[in-house]
């Protein structure tokens, strides 16, 4: 449920932002924007179901120790 709401929110934000980007004539920003939103959604899809287990800082600490 949480993931569905998250993806729906991301999609709504994405549609509005792309419309804003086109209106302001900054078409050059679109690929970077889509890459950033995709990264956020992918991270959400990977991490939200786990709810911090294992955590980001736990993984970092494990790498460096």
């Amino acid at each position: 449920m949480e993931l569905t709401v998250f993806i729906a929110t991301a999609l709504a934000m994405c549609l509005k932002d792309i419309a804003d980007i086109k209106r302001s004539g900054q078409a050059r920003a679109t690929p970077a924007y889509i890459a950033a939103v995709s990264a956020a959604v992918a991270l959400g899809a990977a991490l939200i179901p786990g709810r911090g287990t294992p955590s980001v800082i736990g993984a970092i600490t494990a790498i460096f120790s």
Partner: protein, 369 residues
């Protein structure tokens, strides 16, 4: 009057000072007491000299007609395009990690102090909605908000410090002898760790209208930061003893609970908590603006605004996934390796960049002569 979404150098200092309040009150008391013992309260004074040197170096780098506009330009001047991209990627990841950590700290603090057993999303979502609205707006409005809140913060802090005075025991702060110098130096590291965030604000360089005047505000801001941090440590270590402080998760909050004026005024922690939320908002938004500006430079886009929604979405995911609980977050922040990485990225590396840029500029001017 400033236009075109520009802020002044003074406003940058104000935002920086406001954004360090939350990490400073959370980290400094326990870490300084841990590293410095009885002499831990002198750590910020020692760190003040390092901060002044860092600020002076940054000010000198952004002075002159051929000076870089921001830290990203300085990376390009020092290491070329590829080096700039690599450095920006590292800084983007580190800034995002700090952003996640401060979002989670904000929620954990509210859960730990007033609302235990509440779902973390209850705190995360309102904060991120505010961050989204502010991040899509003008940075100028954010800077003005910080200008207003710093006055309230200073006034409330002064009142709190005055209320603390009767509970401060000199035996908890003294004796400090010249033999404590190594411990004072060690206790300055947490302050350098927090105040090193100053260099990250130079990713906003394009938004700073009078970059060449940064040097004018160094003395005032260093004195202010050292005074506030020292007063915080004197209040906490002086009233609770350094051994107790090292074992407490939120020593400043716990010490504030002790305040009672003429047996009638107490529960001052409510005021502190509301100030903390405001400071957390400034810290989180400052990191969001910095991350958005780094992303703008990295992807070569004309504006930061398109990155507002991805930053907020990432903030939600990161705020939840960054740690499994508050204890993990605290042990991560107090980890000496993390402090070392942060000091390297926020203090030592920018200093090295500053030196390389200066040398290259000097070499160019000699060749052109």
């Amino acid at each position: 009057m400033l236009n075109n979404d520009k802020i002044s150098a003074r406003q940058v200092f104000v935002v920086f000072v406001m954004s360090t309040f939350s990490p400073a009150t959370r980290l400094l008391p326990s870490l300084c007491a841990n590293y410095g013992g009885v002499a831990g309260w002198l750590g910020p004074a020692a760190a003040g000299a390092a901060l002044a040197a860092l600020m002076a170096a940054m000010a000198s780098m952004f002075k002159g007609s051929a000076a870089p506009r921001d830290l990203s330009d300085a990376f390009e001047a020092a290491f070329g395009r590829l080096g700039r991209r690599a450095a920006l990627s590292v800084y983007l990841l580190w800034t995002l990690l700090l952003y996640f950590i401060y979002i989670r700290y904000y929620a954990e603090r509210l859960m730990g102090t007033t609302f235990p057993n509440v779902d973390i999303r209850f705190f995360l979502i309102p904060m991120l909605v505010l961050v989204f609205i502010a991040a899509r707006g003008k940075i100028e409005a954010f800077a003005r908000f910080a200008e207003v809140t710093i006055l309230i913060f200073t006034a409330v802090f002064a009142v709190l410090f005055i209320c603390f005075i009767p509970s401060i025991k000199p035996s908890n702060l003294l004796p400090v002898t010249p033999y404590d110098a190594p411990r004072v130096a060690a206790s300055s590291l947490p302050a350098i760790h927090v105040w090193g965030f100053f260099t990250l604000f130079f990713f906003l360089g394009e938004h700073i209208s009078n970059r060449h005047e940064i040097g004018k505000y160094i003395k005032k801001s260093v004195i202010y930061l050292v005074a506030i941090a020292t007063a915080t440590l004197v209040s906490i270590i002086g009233s609770l003893n350094y051994k107790t402080v090292t074992r407490m998760p939120t020593p400043f909050f716990s010490a504030t609970k002790l305040i009672q004026v003429v047996r009638s005024f107490d529960r001052m922690e409510a005021i502190l908590l509301s100030l903390w939320v405001v400071s957390d908002f400034v810290t989180i938004l400052a990191f969001a603006f910095i991350a958005m500006n780094i992303a703008k430079k990295l992807f070569g886009t004309p504006d930061t605004r398109p990155f507002a929604s991805p930053t907020v979405l990432l903030g939600y995911v990161g705020g939840i996934a960054v740690a499994s609980n508050g204890l993990e977050l605290e042990s991560f922040s107090a980890n000496p390796a993390v402090i070392a990485v942060n000091i390297s990225l926020c203090t030592l590396f920018p200093l090295a960049v500053c030196l390389i840029v200066k040398l290259k500029t000097k070499k160019k001017s000699v060749v052109s002569r």
